[in-house]
C-alpha cells in the first residue's frame, strides 16, 4: 500500500528536480518557483510519517549539488521548512487553499532567507529584489500544485486517511 504512495512521491520529486534544472528563457529564470520545496511541503502534509526531515535534508543536499552551492545551504533551509510543516501538518491540512498558500509563502520565504543568509556569509549574495520572486510565484502556484498532487495521490496511490 505505502509502496505506491512512495513511488508517486519519488516520481513527483524527480519531476520537481527536472523542473528545477530545466533550461528556461532568461526572463523567466528568476521567477522559477522552488519546485522541490513545494513538492516536499505537499508530501510532508499528506504523508508526514514518510516524509520526514531526513528526506528533506537529503533532497536539499541534492539541490546544493545541482546548484553548485555550499553543501548544506539548501539542505538546512529545506529541512527547517519541512520540520515546521511536519509538526503543523494537522492544522495545515484543514486550512483552505488560500490560507495554505499564505503559509506556503512564509515557508518559502524562510527557506529563501536561510539560503540568502548563507550566501551572504560566503560572499556571493544576489543584489536584487528579484531574488524573492520564486517565493511569490511558488505561493501563487500552491493551490494548483496541491490539487494536482492530491488528485495524483488519490488516483494512483493508496488513500491513507489519517
Amino acid at each position: 500500500m505505502a509502496t505506491s504512495n512512495l513511488k508517486i512521491a519519488s516520481l513527483s520529486l524527480f519531476v520537481a528536480f527536472m523542473l528545477t534544472i530545466m533550461p528556461l528563457p532568461e526572463w523567466v529564470v528568476e521567477f522559477r518557483p522552488d519546485w522541490v520545496t513545494l513538492v516536499l511541503i505537499y508530501w510532508a502534509m499528506a504523508l508526514p510519517a514518510r516524509t520526514g526531515v531526513t528526506i528533506a535534508w537529503l533532497a536539499g543536499l541534492m539541490l546544493d549539488v545541482s546548484h553548485g552551492a555550499i553543501l548544506g545551504q539548501n539542505a538546512l533551509g529545506l529541512m527547517l521548512v519541512i520540520y515546521i510543516v511536519h509538526i503543523q501538518h494537522q492544522r495545515l491540512r484543514v486550512a483552505s487553499l488560500v490560507q495554505q498558500a499564505i503559509v506556503v509563502f512564509f515557508l518559502l520565504l524562510l527557506k529563501q532567507l536561510i539560503v540568502l543568509w548563507v550566501s551572504g556569509i560566503v560572499g556571493h549574495a544576489p543584489h536584487t529584489w528579484l531574488y524573492f520572486m520564486p517565493t511569490i510565484t511558488g505561493a501563487m502556484l500552491w493551490p494548483w500544485i496541491y490539487i494536482i498532487m492530491r488528485d495524483m495521490r488519490r488516483k494512483f496511490g493508496y488513500n491513507v486517511n489519517y
Binding site: I21, A49, W57, L61, V65, S66, G68, I70, M79, Y83
Partner: protein, 313 residues
C-alpha cells in the same frame, strides 16, 4: 490510526542533529573544500535528472542532423570547406610565426612555449542557480577533467571548472561574481584583472590608474599569471571607459569575447601544469591542425626565404 512517528528519535531531535550537521558541512565545504566525495556521490543520483532534461535538446540536434536534406548538407559541406581553406591559410602564417617565435625564444634562452591539449566538451542543457554563472559539461573525471581547468570556446576564454564528477563537471563562467581572470591588453601589455559582474555582457577591470594607455576597442588576452589560464587567449574587448577624476582608479568595462550564453560546445584545455595523462584522446582535435600545417609545401619554401631574409638583416 497510525502514530505520527513510526520509529527512531523524534522529528525535533532529528531536526537539531541535522542543523548541526548542516552547519558543520557548510563550514567544512567553505573552509577546506574536502567534500568532493560527498558531492560526487550525490551527483550520481542527479545524473539521471540531468540526462532526462538534456534529452529533448539532444534529440533536437540529432534530428536536425538526421533529417536535413542532401542539399543542405552539401551547402554546409561547401561552407565548411571554404572555412577550412581560410583557416589553413591563416595557420600557415601562424606556424611560421610560431617557429620564428621559438627561434627567438631560444636566442634569448627563454623557456620554450609549451603547447596545450584540448578536448571538446558539450554543455549539458540544464539551468542551475540563476544568480551564479555556472554551466554543466558532459566531461568529468573519466575524461581527466580537473578542478581549475580552463575552458574556452571558438572566440575566447569562457571560464574554469569548479566541480568535477565522474561523468559531468560544473564550470564557472568568467562573468560570475566570484570569478576573476588575470588579463593583459594585447596592444600595450598593460596587466590587469578582469572581475566577473554577474552580467554576461561585461566584466570589470579594476585598479587601472588614470594615466594608463587604454582605449575602447582594446583586446584583452589572458596573461597566464596565476598559472591557471594559459597565456594569450582572447578574453574580452574594452567597451566603456569612465574617467571620473574624483576616483582613484578609472572605471573600465569589457565585453567577453566568448559566447557565454549561446555556445553549445566548448574546449577543455590542459595546460603545462596539468598535462593530460592519455594523449590518444586529443587526436581528433589536434591531428588535423598539425597535418594542415605540415603538408603545405609553400610553408617550407617561405620559411627558407624568411630565414635568409633574417640572415641578411
Amino acid at each position: 490510526m497510525q502514530t505520527l512517528f513510526l520509529r527512531g528519535p523524534s522529528a525535533t531531535l532529528r531536526m537539531f542533529i541535522l542543523v548541526i550537521i548542516s552547519l558543520a558541512l557548510m563550514t567544512i565545504d567553505h573552509r577546506w573544500k574536502h567534500l568532493d566525495a560527498v558531492r560526487n556521490t550525490l551527483s550520481y543520483l542527479l545524473y539521471p535528472v540531468e540526462y532526462v532534461v538534456d534529452l529533448p535538446i539532444r534529440l533536437y540536434y540529432w534530428s536536425e542532423e538526421t533529417l536535413s536534406t542532401q542539399q543542405d548538407l552539401l551547402n554546409e559541406n561547401r561552407q565548411l570547406k571554404d572555412l577550412q581553406l581560410q583557416s589553413r591559410v591563416q595557420l600557415q602564417k601562424l606556424d611560421i610565426l610560431e617557429k620564428e617565435n621559438e627561434r627567438l625564444r631560444k636566442l634569448l634562452s627563454a623557456t620554450p612555449k609549451t603547447t596545450e591539449d584540448h578536448l571538446i566538451a558539450e554543455i549539458v542543457a540544464v539551468d542551475v542557480d540563476p544568480y551564479r554563472h555556472f554551466i554543466v559539461l558532459n566531461k568529468g573525471s573519466n575524461d581527466d577533467a580537473y578542478i581549475g581547468q580552463p575552458i574556452i570556446d571558438a572566440h575566447g576564454v569562457m571560464g574554469q571548472i569548479v566541480f568535477v564528477n565522474a561523468m559531468t563537471s560544473t564550470a564557472m563562467l568568467i562573468s560570475d561574481v566570484s570569478h576573476a581572470i588575470p588579463v593583459q591588453i594585447d596592444r600595450t601589455g598593460l596587466r590587469s584583472v578582469a572581475f566577473g559582474t554577474g552580467q554576461t555582457d561585461y566584466l570589470d577591470l579594476r585598479h587601472i590608474p588614470h594615466n594608463a594607455d587604454i582605449r575602447v576597442g582594446d583586446k584583452l588576452i589572458s596573461s597566464g599569471l596565476g598559472e591557471r589560464f594559459p597565456r594569450n587567449y582572447p578574453v574580452a574587448m574594452i567597451t566603456k571607459i569612465n574617467r571620473d577624476t574624483g576616483e582613484t582608479f578609472i572605471n573600465v568595462r569589457a565585453e567577453p569575447l566568448a559566447q557565454l550564453d549561446t555556445s553549445r560546445e566548448v574546449l577543455l584545455v590542459w595546460t603545462q601544469n596539468h598535462e593530460k595523462p592519455t594523449p590518444e584522446l586529443d587526436q581528433p582535435v589536434q591531428a588535423p591542425e598539425k597535418e594542415a600545417v605540415e603538408e603545405t609545401a609553400e610553408e617550407a619554401v617561405e620559411e627558407v626565404a624568411e630565414e635568409t631574409a633574417d640572415g641578411d638583416e
